[in-house]
């Protein structure tokens, strides 16, 4: 290759075509859809229309049946509890999909633990641990050594260094100003997240609360880098918590069926409206939803952020021009190599 390395590297970026694709068909279809939609929406109830019966019904039962001041929360966790249950498990399904899609084919991060399980199985089959010929052993040792070296490459935590140390700020974390500010801001934000859920005056309670908690995790990720957050937001920590939230939701539904003959019916005694325990099972559901949303979205986001560079191997050298040639590549075993110049 006579080209400078940078040009060659740029050629290996994923191919993206920015041309319009059949613009006439696209504009015609989108135009037809907008025409149909506009005809539809101008007939929708306007700002002067009466509330639908279902909304008025929810307003009427919120206080007597649920002891809940916040009608939106009553609908989310009371009247439409079964529907919210379905949506929660849709969220869980989406999280499972993201985890499945983003996990590495090789067990570098031990996200699922295939390599640990494989090692145990290997030890059972072959207690001597010899396994394979010399070449294979050599390759395995080299791989392990490489993994260790990768681990040693980790820079020390900038916050452990004494102040005034003359060293470049690490790219993983942001400057000391941002780190201090993030530390201060994180505490009231976490409190705000739980407050939104606990007092139940917020529409939805656990949904916005969980989103705020995820926001705190992302703030800390931005300020401190993945190493600092990775210690807390670990799959082995977050996933059990998420499933615990899911189990609480199932339990709330089943207890309602058991005691009140209907899924998600309120089986708790009603507290004074406006207090923390107000709303019967609404608060329980809302708290479980806080856990579910915060951890579920955290798993999805951090799985996406932590995706490895599993580029398909470059078979013919100039993969940028020919997408089909790589179509049958293994997709897994050339970690980061393809992207190097």
């Amino acid at each position: 290759m006579t080209e400078p390395a940078a040009i060659e590297h740029a050629k290996k970026e994923p191919r993206a075509d920015d041309d319009w694709h059949r613009p006439a068909v696209g504009f015609a279809l989108a135009g037809a859809v907008v025409a149909v939609l506009v005809i539809g929406v101008v007939d929708l109830p306007r700002a002067a229309a009466a509330l639908p019966d279902i909304a008025r019904h929810a307003m009427e039962i919120a206080l007597p049946q649920w002891g809940q001041n916040e009608v939106v929360s009553e609908i989310v966790y009371g009247s439409r509890g079964w529907d919210t249950f379905g949506e929660t498990f849709l969220l869980l399904a989406a999280v499972v999909s993201v985890v499945t899609l983003t996990r590495s084919p090789e067990a570098r991060t031990e996200y699922i633990g295939e390599s640990t399980a494989g090692r145990q199985e290997q030890a059972e089959i072959d207690p001597q641990g010899g396994g394979g010929d010399g070449d294979e052993q050599e390759a395995r040792q080299a791989e392990e050594q490489e993994e260790q070296e990768e681990g040693e490459d980790v820079a020390p935590n900038a916050d452990d260094l004494p102040l005034g140390t003359r060293a470049p700020e690490r790219a993983a974390g942001m400057s000391v100003v941002v780190r201090v500010a993030a530390r201060i801001a994180a505490v009231p934000l976490i409190v705000a997240g739980f407050y939104l859920c606990l007092l139940g005056y917020t529409p939805g309670g656990g949904f916005p609360g969980g989103a705020v908690i995820l926001g705190v995790a992302l703030l800390l990720y931005t300020a401190f880098g993945h190493q600092a957050v990775g210690r807390a937001v670990r799959p082995s920590v977050v996933e059990p918590i998420e499933l615990l939230g899911a189990m609480v939701i199932i339990a709330v539904g089943l207890f309602g069926l058991l005691f009140k003959d209907s899924m998600f019916a309120n089986f708790l005694t009603l507290a004074v409206p406006g207090t923390i325990r107000a709303g019967g099972t609404n608060q329980l559901f809302s708290g479980a939803e806080l856990i579910e949303v915060a951890t579920g979205l955290a798993i999805a986001t951090f799985s996406l952020l932590g995706m490895k560079h599993d580029w398909a191997p470059d078979e013919d050298g100039d993969g940028a021009d020919d997408g089909d040639a790589e179509a049958d590549g293994d997709g897994g075993d050339s970690d980061g190599q393809g992207a190097q110049p």
Partner: protein, 122 residues
């Protein structure tokens, strides 16, 4: 008038659809899907609006009224607010699925052009 919001939602939805139809870059297709998603939030929140209404909250009734007055009073539609609330969280999760699939596709095909994804072509 609130109909302008409805029409804006319809136009946003169609813009998203146009992106999905005429662009082959996977990231842009995902942006288009997100736009379609957002347009439904706008439509639902706009439909929940009632002229001169208050929030559907049964605390602190205004001077001289009781909570039962609020129950029959002029409030925004709580059911549609609830739809919007849950839809946002699901939308984030679904976008995460799209994006992780797009990253995997880009790594596998070395392309984010939908025309290059030919493995399932009959």
């Amino acid at each position: 008038v609130i109909v302008a919001n409805y029409v804006a939602a319809a136009v946003l939805f169609s813009l998203g659809l146009l992106t999905v139809l005429t662009r082959r870059n996977l990231i842009k297709i995902i942006l288009g899907l997100s736009l379609m998603e957002s347009s439904t939030y706008l439509l639902m929140v706009s439909m929940a609006y009632r002229r001169g209404s208050t929030a559907p909250v049964l605390t602190t009734p205004p001077d001289g009224k009781s909570s039962s007055d609020l129950v029959h009073g002029n409030v925004a539609d709580p059911v549609l607010q609830n739809f919007c609330l849950t839809a946002i969280v699901i939308g984030v999760a679904v976008t995460a699925v799209f994006l992780s699939a797009a990253v995997r596709v880009a790594q596998h095909y070395r392309s984010v052009d939908a025309a290059d994804m030919t493995a399932l072509k009959g």
